[in-house]
């Protein structure tokens, strides 16, 4: 059930998709190539797309993680970093980098830029679209690299895979800890909420809407409707007609959002380990609050930013400690294909 089946709704979504593609097409002018190694991309490779800004702390482990999963080529858009992110990325052999100084919010939170690059390079490839603070895991990721895993998905006719964004947090305030680049973020952030996630279906585009986790618990207890959206569709076998709508939470055409089974069965899904709460959270929150480049209505989230800046201990006795992907399957946070 990909969205409401009325002709009118389908036509609206089609127009919307076309408009988003057009926006992406126009945004190509914002991008200047820093390092373009896309000529080396081969047919079977998995591509990863990401927009980054000042991510030097997270990128070394990020690259290590996704290389280990078998990502073949990384395509980054650097949005005006001043900590050397662009230069560092440009020095990586399997990476292409574009730079832009334009507004993040004006470019649909970077999606316009990525869409234009995806339309150029991704058709026919299995494509990952993630942020620098998101580490994808899936059932068997430790001995079944992505190129094999996507073949399994294809066998089950799955053309996209959903994942829940799992907020990891430390015990104590984030800034009490230290994190060294290239260190596994899980050493610092081993805790997560094992449950309490809720799912609704959004009729218009037919995607699920997952909410919950420590941020909903600590920052949005009075207004759960505003709690962060946790559903994502990071892994898609790309086609030039595809476009992400709201971050990677949903996509068009609407059938892409059908990442689940409605008749009691189950599809494969993964988990995006969210490393937002590494040390430095407060500083970053202060910057983001001032820049006003995040969220549709940044004003409504001032209290959230203030709480982040103050630093909140999200840990509580019920918190669970991350061990491995099997734990995620047991808890029902992700599902395997057998």
């Amino acid at each position: 059930m990909a969205g409401k089946r009325t002709v009118l709704n389908r036509y609206r979504l089609r127009l919307r998709r076309k408009r988003l593609l057009w926006r992406a097409f126009r945004s190509r002018r914002d991008l200047t190539p820093v390092a373009d190694r896309t000529a080396s991309v081969t047919q079977e490779q998995i591509l990863l797309f990401s927009t980054v800004r000042n991510e030097m702390m997270r990128l070394p482990w990020f690259m290590k993680h996704y290389r280990a999963l078998g990502v073949g080529h990384f395509i980054f858009v650097d949005n005006d970093s001043d900590d050397g992110t662009a230069e560092w990325l440009a020095g990586q052999p399997d990476t292409s980098v574009w730079a832009t100084a334009s507004g993040y919010r004006a470019a649909r939170f970077g999606m316009d830029w990525l869409t234009s690059l995806q339309r150029r390079f991704a058709p026919g490839h299995w494509t990952l679209t993630v942020d620098a603070d998101e580490l994808l895991i899936y059932p068997g990721h430790d001995n079944c690299p992505l190129p094999d895993f996507v073949k399994r998905l294809e066998r089950f006719n799955q053309k996209a895979m959903g994942a829940i964004m799992l907020d990891l947090y430390p015990k104590g305030r984030p800034d009490e800890h230290t994190y060294l680049p290239e260190q596994n973020p899980l050493d610092v952030l081993p805790w997560f909420d094992a449950w309490g996630y809720q799912v609704q279906r959004q009729a218009r585009m037919g995607n699920l809407w997952l909410q919950g986790g420590p941020r909903a618990r600590c920052f949005f207890a009075d207004d759960p409707a505003r709690a962060p959206t946790l559903n994502k569709i990071p892994l898609v076998r790309w086609d030039r007609a595809f476009v992400y709508v709201n971050s990677t939470h949903n996509a068009l055409p609407a059938w892409l959002n059908e990442t689940w089974k409605s008749h009691g069965g189950v599809a494969a899904s993964g988990v995006l380990l969210h490393t937002k709460f590494l040390p430095g959270t407060a500083e970053r929150a202060a910057q983001e609050k001032a820049r006003r480049e995040h969220f549709q209505q940044p004003e409504a989230f001032d209290a959230y930013y203030d709480a982040l800046i103050r630093g909140t201990d999200m840990w509580e006795p019920g918190s669970a400690r991350y061990t491995c992907w099997r734990q995620m399957v047991d808890l029902g946070l992700m599902s395997e294909l057998r």
Partner: protein, 567 residues
Amino acid sequence: MSLGVVMLVHTAFDRAEEVARHWRASGCPVVIHVDKSVPRPVYDAFVSALSDLADVSFSRRFRCEWGTWGIVAATQAASEQILQAHPGVRHVYLASGSCLPLRPVKELIDYLAARPRTDFIESATTADVPWTVGGLNAERFTLRFPFSWRRQRWLFDRYVSLQRRVRFRRRIPAGLVPHLGSQWWCLTRQTLTAILQDPSRADIERYFRRVWIPDESYFQTMARQYSTHIESRSLTLSKFDYQGKPHIFYDDHLQLLRRSDCFVARKIWPHAQRLYDAFLTDAESAMSKTEPNPGKIDRIFAKAVDRRVFGRTGLYMQSRFPRDDWDSGVTASPYSVFQGFTELFENFEPWLARATGARVHGHLFAPAGAEFADNQTSINGALSNSAVLRDYNPEFFLTNLLWNTRGERQCFQFGPGDTQSVNWRIAKDPNAQISVISGAWAIPLFRSNASFADLRQKAATLQKTESEHLNVLRSAWTKARVRIWTMAEFIEAPMEPLQTVLDEIGAGETRRLAEAPRMVDLRGFGQFLQNLKNQGMHPHLMGDFPVDDLPAHQPPGRAAPRPYLVR
């Protein structure tokens, strides 16, 4: 050498090469058939890769489309070739490129040498097999199938229905009894040559060419004609998933395959490096004489298929979101809802917890916030008692609670004063056990000190709400186990219903209740109801109470008549 191998290959040539070398290393001659649709250069590369091996040859190529005659033709040609070229071969094993020997080939050879006259071919009459997916059973043999199921599905379906409409039936060649079975067999030279040299082979072939999936029936039927001793089972372990596609084995099936004690398994995922590493190193292991035992892993597979088709009941996540009315259950485990019990009994919750060992919550849907057991503010940390969070999505509050406490029976109180938004969800849930003492909401009013006008108002609202809820519980869509007593009916003999409810919860043992919960003092309750009536508000849900004092108002206990068990 007594065992020859026929391999049908159409893809994953590097794996096929490894397996061919493995067969060859134990001295088995191998004849390989490569699908005609494989491009010439690929075929040539494959042939030259194996050119260093003696006794590995390639047979005439046929186009092998699933469900068509080509596969049988390929098997025939390759079998003829191997029988002719290797007179020492006594058994021919039919394998595919994605088959993997699980036990040392020597063990298979010894096994067959000990059974020189036995044909291992799964072969059953159509009436007896439940395997066929898609409804074509006996009709495989009585209709004609000239169209490809894969490429010309529309024509295929139309032609089948046309033949059904005109009652077309093919004549089965005289003497043949159609049999079905796994495509992968191991036949003796005697049987195989008899099949291949059948005097009427041309006629029989003409018949089987238009049979649906002849590779599962040609040899299976013919072997019945000639074999002296058929063991109706395949030596190749192969599983089918719920769609009828062959199940694929991955790295994580390593231990499972080891335990199966089968000689050969299919299909193996070409990228399952660990499986190939583990099984193709022909260990000099002690010869085990164990019989193949695919049954060992059948159960595990049945479970996996179930899990894929039905998922894990009660789990809602980004890849599982059953629709409301999906009747395999909305919650993860059975639970109990009690309505009116805490009102009638003073110490009901602790008593119930003692009697059943279950986790007993208060009113989970109380307007002020969920009343978790032991006054906890959250369950396992993540599910808070905040009314805002709960009412944001009450159905998920419930399914979440039950998913995350599975293994421990959950009980909670409910009443007309609570949020009513989950009534339908609970009523339609087969896991729910709902016990209602209707009208018990009047007891707190009766015992309260509020002004009568307010009480009257409140009573009217509560009665209306409960009455609507009872309508839900009595509706035709209700799947929960529902028991409703009026209050008058209940206090007549309270132990009997309590015992029934508890027995249903009871973890195995049925205990006679040692102690009863303490009933509140109901003296004057009849008068209270009468007062409401006098004010124009007619309470009817509690049944008929006499205006004067109740005869059975005294608390039941040791003095009360012994309850009898209802089983």
